[in-house]
């Protein structure tokens, strides 16, 4: 079942001589439960692609369908609500809310939706992420790896159809990086969630189902289990 479809996505910054084409006619799709990685050099357009798919930024042209719904044709308010219910985000710099504790940060998207979080579900995620003991700690009391685990928990709580992760291991050491990827992989398998992850770490691409390469705004599908291809 197709969860994400991107069609002829273009994003242009600036005008005239300063015009930069960050994305050039990008098209691809992802199936339910698929774990895909986007690789590419700095400034190649990876983050722009992820931001456009997550509706954090508006593309210049093209279409994005998530669960067959056209994201870009929605009005701002509806798109925001759609995003918090259907897309989970994981950022390199975690973007946790400093004044909320671990449990509250994880429940945050549900609270924004004025839904009452199920305690069992919260406990399950806390235990999956190994944060049960630290559920009432503030982000400032956690290590980088723990903070990223909270960010993953927050992305999982609404059981979104799509998780977008922008270099989730960029600020972590190798052990924490592996832990995070393991968690994402198991989530993808366990909850049948589609994950699109940007990474610089070629070793991580070995763990994903599909790999895309972005260069100068052009996306190339490198297919599945691509470490051989990349090397």
């Amino acid at each position: 079942m197709e969860i994400l479809r991107v069609e002829n996505l273009c994003k242009t910054y600036g005008k005239g001589e300063a015009e930069v084409n960050a994305l050039k006619n990008v098209s691809f799709s992802l199936e339910k439960g698929e774990f895909a990685a986007v690789v590419g050099e700095s400034g190649s357009g990876k983050s722009t692609l992820l931001n456009c798919i997550g509706a954090l930024d508006m593309p210049t042209s093209g279409s994005i369908f998530i669960d067959r719904q056209n994201l870009l044709s929605m009005k701002e308010e509806k798109r925001t609500i759609f995003r918090r219910r259907n897309i989970g985000f994981i950022f390199q710099s975690f973007q946790l809310v400093a004044e909320l504790d671990v449990e509250q940060n994880i429940m945050f998207p549900l609270l924004l939706d004025y839904r009452k979080p199920e305690p069992d579900r919260v406990d399950e995620i806390l235990s999956l992420l190994g944060l049960t003991e630290r559920r009432h700690h503030l982000p400032s009391q956690l290590s980088g790896g723990q903070q990223q685990r909270v960010a993953i928990g927050r992305a999982l709580i609404t059981q979104p159809k799509l998780i977008l992760a922008d270099e989730p291991t960029g600020n972590l050491d190798s052990k924490n990086s592996h832990d995070v990827i393991d968690m994402l992989t198991s989530a993808s398998k366990r909850f049948q969630q589609t994950i699109l992850m940007i990474t610089h770490n070629n070793n991580l691409t070995a763990l994903v189902d599909r790999v895309f390469h972005v260069s100068d705004g052009v996306l190339t599908d490198l297919g599945g289990r691509a470490n051989e291809t990349l090397s």
């Binding site: 930024d57 308010e77 809310v97 945050f108 609270l111």
Partner: protein
């Protein structure tokens, strides 16, 4: 760049936009202080001028001293002008051509510089046989310039004088009390007249820059003078700050001092919170400086110098703006009240206000930068290299998401979590409210000091015989003039033998009509005024404490040998007409009065004119009484002057309150704007996770609302006692009006604070909405 502090102007140029608010705050502080001192200066000029016009520009008057003592006083370096002043009142029986006159004898310098009079035609008498007289004598007894007139004494003796000049009639009350015409002569001429019952004194005007109480002490000791021999012009000395003790003017100074301190505290809080946000935005910059080896002391010096650097432009702008505002206000005051403020310069510059504003501006900035400077110095070098500087470490408790919706809980938590910030913000809101409340006492002061009571007549026409001798048809004729706003009469029956509850006493029975009954309603303690107006034989009783009367009691009156009974329909706490000790006062309708006494004419008719009325209109009314038998009391110009003064003062007071409201509004807008700017990245993260724009606005409103509500509570806690202190010292001590909670200004300022806080959210919220989430997250 030769010194690390040279980085200040470079950094200021780059961070120009961020420092804009701080610079505006400094400008406002300087503006407020300068306008306050400028206006105080103007007010003092007006009051001083008025006081001089009331009693003359003299400081001390010495009685029963010899010429040697007088010359000793005159020779003192502090003495500006001095001289003998001899007066003879109109009661002494002196006359010229049958017209009773008063006499005032003094040197020309005393006449002009101390009593501020002038000869409008001819010249000041120079020899003992010369006099100058009031110009009204020109017409009333046909005196012309250089004519020789005979001055008759009460004993019938006559002295001839040559009239060498005419003086302005309106200014003579400073020379001799009363409003009879006056003859002015030299002291030598007065000596030749040989007057037994003259009032002689030696008047002195001292230099403004000397300490007059010390000089007086010296004069008293060296000449062995008693207290009774010296009279000070206390109101003038008090205005000029030459007197100690609890005078009304002293209290005004105290109030001005308290207000200045509150203004300074407001500005310190404003600049401090603005600078705090500025420093918070540049945490990484200060971290980087620390990384490169700057010591804490150097960082503090850097921030302090930044504050002073901003003063370079902010202070002159504030001063220029204040001068413009003072010029506009001066012009307005001159137009509205030329009598009091015509002496004020059109484009005057108050050096006191400029110096005070520079000093207070610098002091305010130096005090305000203390806390941000310390904060900047505390930034650790690590902050510069850890991407999210200062973002995580500052929260100690998590937000309460159970009691409120998430966005509200976070808004409240944002406001409350950082204690120092919360105290600064709430404090600034509270100080704005306190400032408004304390300044609003000036409105009550103004009303008490300058607004004549509603019932004040501008022209009163009273029966010469104090009887009901004024024909009531004349009242109708008066009312027909379109320049008459209100005209109403009163009939009086004096000392009516009265009996109630077995007690006999005398009472004055007075008739009222609609207007007067309306004004009496404010003093109604019990009963009803309508009953008195509509039913016959009903009266209002004025409480004196001598007689115990209740509503419904019957009172027996003996008028024209007839005994009649009236019923008390209402009781008044007080009345301006109930001032005769031992006599009770009753008010009734005209119909009742006529029924009781048989009289239809009025004892007095009071008239209030339309706003643009002139003395010509008074004349028209006077002409309605060609047969005399009445006494006119014309207070039109006095009441108009009082009203003008009220309008002038109102401009100042409301001008100030507007500035305070503007500062409050600006400060709230600024504070909330800066708060949003500081959390831009954080908001971006929340938006990315799914916070809608509406939720974002609600969150910012909750934050702003938390500051506003807490600020309002603290504003009441601090502001109401302050209001009480100022009210008691400014109003209760002078007029006796009791303090009460100032609900109207309180509700007004709280509404302004809450509404502005709500409005302040609009712009930053719109700015956030215009930004894409990606821009939002990457905002610095």
């Amino acid at each position: 760049m030769k010194h690390y502090l040279k980085l200040v102007p470079i950094s200021a140029k780059i961070h120009r936009k961020q420092s804009k608010m701080t610079r505006i705050c400094i400008t406002l502080a300087v503006l407020l202080v300068a306008v306050m001192f400028g206006l105080a200066d103007m007010y003092l000029q007006g009051v001083t001028r008025h006081q001089m016009e009331e009693s003359g520009n003299w400081h001390y008057e010495f009685h029963s001293i010899d010429t040697q003592t007088a010359s000793f006083i005159s020779a003192r370096p502090e003495t500006e002008v001095s001289g003998w002043h001899n007066t003879v009142s109109s009661e002494a029986g002196y006359s010229i051509k049958g017209q009773t006159i008063s006499i005032s004898a003094q040197e020309r310098k005393v006449f002009e510089n101390i009593f501020l009079n002038e000869i409008i035609e001819g010249e000041y008498p120079n020899a003992s046989g010369e006099i100058a007289v009031s110009s009204s004598l020109k017409d009333t007894v046909s005196i012309s310039l250089n004519e020789t007139v005979e001055l008759y004494k009460s004993d019938g003796s006559v002295t001839a004088y040559s009239v060498v000049g005419f003086l302005d009639d309106t200014e003579t009350s400073r020379l001799v009390e009363g409003d009879t015409p006056i003859a002015v002569m030299t002291p030598t001429g007065f000596g030749a007249l040989v007057v037994a019952d003259a009032d002689t004194s030696y008047v002195v005007q001292f230099s403004r820059i000397c300490n007059i109480p010390d000089i007086i002490k010296g004069i008293k000791e060296s000449n062995h003078l008693s207290e009774e021999q010296m009279t000070g012009n206390i109101p003038l000395l008090s205005i000029q700050g030459q007197i100690a003790g609890k005078t009304g003017v002293d209290q005004i100074y105290q109030v001005a001092f308290i207000l200045s301190v509150i203004v300074m505290v407001t500005c310190i809080l404003m600049i401090s919170s603005s600078l705090n946000s500025n420093v918070a935005e540049r945490t990484e910059f200060f971290g980087m400086l620390r990384c490169l080896g700057a010591t804490k002391r150097q960082i503090m010096r850097f921030v302090r110098l930044e504050g002073i650097y901003w003063c370079r432009t902010a202070i002159p702008i504030g001063i220029i703006l204040s001068i413009l505002i003072v010029w506009i206000l001066s012009a307005a005051m001159r137009v509205i009240n030329p009598l009091w403020f015509s002496a004020m310069p059109v484009f005057g510059i108050s050096w006191i206000s400029i110096i005070a504003s520079i000093l207070l501006g610098l002091l305010t900035v130096l005090l305000a930068v203390r806390s941000p400077a310390k904060r900047a110095a505390k930034v650790s070098p690590l902050m510069a290299i850890s991407g999210n500087a200062g973002q995580m470490a500052s929260f100690r408790k998590s937000a309460n998401t159970k009691a409120f919706k998430i966005e509200i809980a976070m808004g409240i938590h944002h406001a409350k979590s950082k204690k120092r910030n919360f105290v600064l913000m709430t404090g600034a809101f509270a100080v704005c409210i306190t400032l408004f409340l304390t300044f609003s006492t000036l409105i009550d002061f103004m009303k008490n000091a300058f607004v004549p009571p509603e019932y004040t007549p501008e022209l009163s026409i009273a029966s010469e015989t104090n009887t009901c001798s004024i024909d009531n048809k004349l009242l109708e004729q008066i009312k027909q003039n379109n320049f008459v706003k209100r005209a109403y009469g009163r009939m009086f029956a004096y000392n009516v033998p009265t009996e109630s509850s077995g007690k006999s006493y005398n009472a004055n029975l007075i008739s009222y009509e609609e207007n007067q009954f309306g004004w009496a309603a404010d003093s109604l303690v019990s009963g009803s005024i309508d009953t008195v107006m509509q039913q016959e034989n009903q009266i209002l009783f004025v409480q004196t404490g001598n007689i115990d009367v209740n509503v419904g009691d019957n009172i027996t009156l003996s008028i024209n040998d007839r005994t009649q009974t009236v019923t008390v329909a209402g009781i008044l706490s007080d009345s301006p007409l109930a001032r005769v000790e031992g006599t009770e006062t009753f008010f009734c309708s005209e119909k009742t009065f006529t029924a009781l006494t048989g009289e239809t004419g009025y004892t007095i008719i009071d008239i209030q004119f339309e706003n643009n009325a002139s003395s010509g209109n008074v004349e028209t009314i006077v002409n309605l009484f060609p047969n005399g038998g009445v006494i006119f009391s014309d207070s039109l110009s006095k009441v108009q002057q009082q009203r003008n003064l009220y309008h002038t003062f109102a401009i100042l007071v409301y001008g100030f309150l507007s500035i305070i409201v503007a500062i409050t509004v600006f400060h709230i807008m600024n504070t909330i704007n800066m708060g949003v700017a500081a959390k831009m990245k954080e908001y971006g993260g929340m938006r990315a996770i799914g916070m809608s724009d509406r939720q974002l606005v609600k969150m910012i409103i909750a934050e702003a609302g938390t500051y506003a509500v807490n600020g309002a509570i603290w504003g009441c806690i601090i502001g109401l006692p302050m209001h009480w202190v100022i009210f008691v010292s400014l109003i209760t001590n002078i007029w006796g009006t009791a303090w009460s909670v100032p609900f109207i200004p309180l509700i007004l300022i709280i509404a302004i604070v809450l509404f502005t806080s709500l409005l302040a959210v609009r712009e930053p919220a719109k700015r956030l909405q215009r930004m894409s989430i990606v821009e939002n997250i990457s905002a610095q």
